[in-house]
């Protein structure tokens, strides 16, 4: 009998409808007036996405103040990489004591962004930057090296017209 009455008088349904109804009214009234938006959406393409400080984006090589590559070809990153996406060829340069990479290849398509390479690096020569806009049309575009104008190991790659991030620069 109690169960029957409970089914007959749907208090829980009414409660649920009240909650969603309030949400609707609040979002409806606050959506277009930016003061205190009630919705929880982070509007990525319109509003630049904020990454957490420890977000692991694309691998990037750093240069010191003189414009020299910091990497000394100790191959620590190449060895520790679980998916073996880093290939380094070392070489020599006039006037530099340590070795210098002549080739530093990074296959981004297989990278799992674990940051082991950065942790193992003793010279702080590489970081994972905050770039997340990495989608490409061809798989070849994802193998990065020290050369290359569109994407290379030294900078944040330029992104296409949809990103607001590049407009801010």
């Amino acid at each position: 009998m109690k169960k029957f009455l409970k089914t007959l008088i749907p208090f829980d349904i009414a409660k649920g409808l009240t909650i969603t109804g309030t949400h609707f009214a609040k979002v409806f009234l606050s959506a277009n007036r930016r003061k205190v938006p009630f919705h929880v959406v982070s509007e990525y393409p319109e509003v630049p996405a904020k990454m957490q400080p420890r977000f692991r984006g694309r691998l990037q090589m750093l240069k010191d103040e003189a414009g020299e590559i910091k990497c000394v070809c100790c191959l620590a990153c190449e060895k520790i990489c679980p998916t073996q996406v880093i290939t380094i060829e070392s070489g020599k340069k006039e006037g530099r004591k340590t070795k210098l990479p002549t080739r530093y290849d990074f296959e981004m398509e297989r990278c799992i962004f674990c940051e082991f390479c950065v942790e193992s690096c003793g010279f702080d020569a590489i970081i994972l930057n905050h770039q997340f806009e990495l989608a490409v049309y061809n798989r070849e575009d994802m193998s990065l090296s020290m050369e290359g104008t569109f994407q290379n190991m030294f900078g944040v790659s330029p992104v296409a017209k949809f990103s607001v991030a590049d407009e801010e620069k």
Binding site: T7, L8, I13, G16, L17, I19, T20, G21, H23, F24, V27, F28, A31, N32, R33, R34, F38, H39, V40, V41, E43, P45, E46, V47, K161, F162, V164, E167
Partner: protein, 393 residues
């Protein structure tokens, strides 16, 4: 006013049919858009706000600069309204797949049955009692003739609607069978059982206001609603209204009773094998049925189609006709299609609201709700209504 000849009346009927179709093709995409938006807002989301390439072109130019200035563009959150055009065009130009082992004739005819049944139902719903507008004189054959608010205001309007709506179930059952695939067949069977069993409480719950007002006709119903019942049918028929709404959800296969197209269990139910505009016709039919249920609810429970809420028309109409400018009088005073449309929109909103709130039922629960709770309740309700009618009239 001259009596129209047969040709003239046929042409006028054709005109009315075109009007109905136009109404459908305006209301249904808007409902689709509203579904996206309202569902988003209920879940603290935004719903559709961007169209493709919205950052290029003129609007994109304006929008981008507004964002740069740190302001929200005016149209930013309503831009998605263009999306419904995109949806329709895309669906029309999409490839239409015919499965090899499908029964070709039935596969072809099923969406047509579904769509036609839901459109024909509209024939009996009248938007305005009497004349909607008079055709201008310069039109060759039918100039100077009145066009009434409904294609046919038959004196068994309610039964007509129920009868045709029950034919609509064939679209779903046959679609399920013709696809020659497991999940569609299961979906079709489910929908057949569900719709046939929910038709009983639906009809019974609609009978209560019929008993109280004493007519099956739409116009008659609203007239009696204005005089006899206390203003809104929902006041004496509170229980009946909620039973009606529940059955309406089940009849149109909406959540929380979306057994036929249960995405969780049966891929997409009866229209699993349908693509392109054939699927689009099922989609349209579902939304048209929603509109029909909303129109019936506003006619039978929400104070008749054309009246202001809470019996305000009696108080306000003399005031309006005396004081308002002339062009506003036909808009705000009785009879007005505006309140009819407003009530329909409200019920459609309730549809989406419930969809965004209540989780799905299991299949046996759906059947139990129909047979164990709703049918006894409607019978009690009908008896009460008959007793009230007997005592008062």
């Amino acid at each position: 006013m001259p009596t129209p000849t047969l040709t003239q009346s046929l042409i006028i009927a054709l005109l009315q049919a075109i009007l109905v179709v136009v109404f459908i093709f305006v209301v249904v995409p808007l409902t689709l858009y509203a579904e996206r938006k309202v569902l988003g807002y209920l879940q603290l989301r935004l719903g559709a706000t961007r169209v493709a390439g919205s950052l290029t072109g003129l609007t994109g130019f304006v929008n981008r600069n507004m964002w740069k200035l740190g302001k929200v563009p005016m149209l930013s959150y309503w831009r998605g309204i263009v999306m419904l055009v995109g949806d329709v065009v895309k669906m029309i130009i999409k490839e239409d797949i015919l499965p090899t082992k499908a029964d070709k004739f039935v596969f072809f005819i099923a969406p047509a049955i579904s769509f036609c049944a839901s459109v024909i139902v509209f024939a009996a719903i009248s938007f305005v009692p009497g004349t909607l507008f008079v055709l201008p004189k310069f039109i060759p054959i039918v100039g100077g003739l009145p066009v009434s608010g409904a294609v046919g205001d038959v004196n068994v309007g309610l039964l007509w609607i129920l009868g045709i709506a029950s034919v609509g179930v064939y679209g779903i059952v046959l679609a399920g069978w013709a696809s020659n695939s497991k999940y569609p067949l299961l979906g079709g069977l489910r929908s057949g059982a569900q719709i046939v069993s929910y038709e009983v409480p639906l009809t019974l719950s609609l009978l209560a206001p019929v008993v109280m007002s004493g007519s099956l006709q739409f116009s008659e119903m609203s007239r009696s609603m204005a005089v006899g019942l206390p203003y809104w049918g929902i006041v004496p028929q509170f229980l009946g209204f909620f039973i009606y709404l529940t059955c309406g959800f089940a009849e149109t296969n909406r959540l929380p009773f979306d057994m036929p197209e249960a995405e969780n269990e049966l891929v997409a139910g009866f229209h699993t094998e349908y693509s392109g505009m054939k699927f689009g016709f099922f989609y349209l039919a579902e939304y048209i049925n929603m509109t029909v249920v909303a129109a019936l609810a506003s006619a039978f429970f929400l104070g008749g189609p054309w009246l202001m809420p809470f019996g305000l028309h009696g108080v306000l109409n003399p005031f309006f006709t005396a004081h308002l400018p002339a062009f506003l009088v036909p808009l705000l005073c009785e009879p007005h299609a505006i309140f009819f449309v407003v009530k329909i929109i409200f019920i459609l909103f309730v549809y989406i609201w419930v969809r965004g709130t209540i989780p799905r039922y299991r299949y046996d629960q759906v059947m139990a709700v129909a047979w164990k709770y709703l049918i006894p309740l409607t019978l009690v309700n009908l008896m009460l209504a008959a007793a009230v009618r007997y005592l008062t009239v």
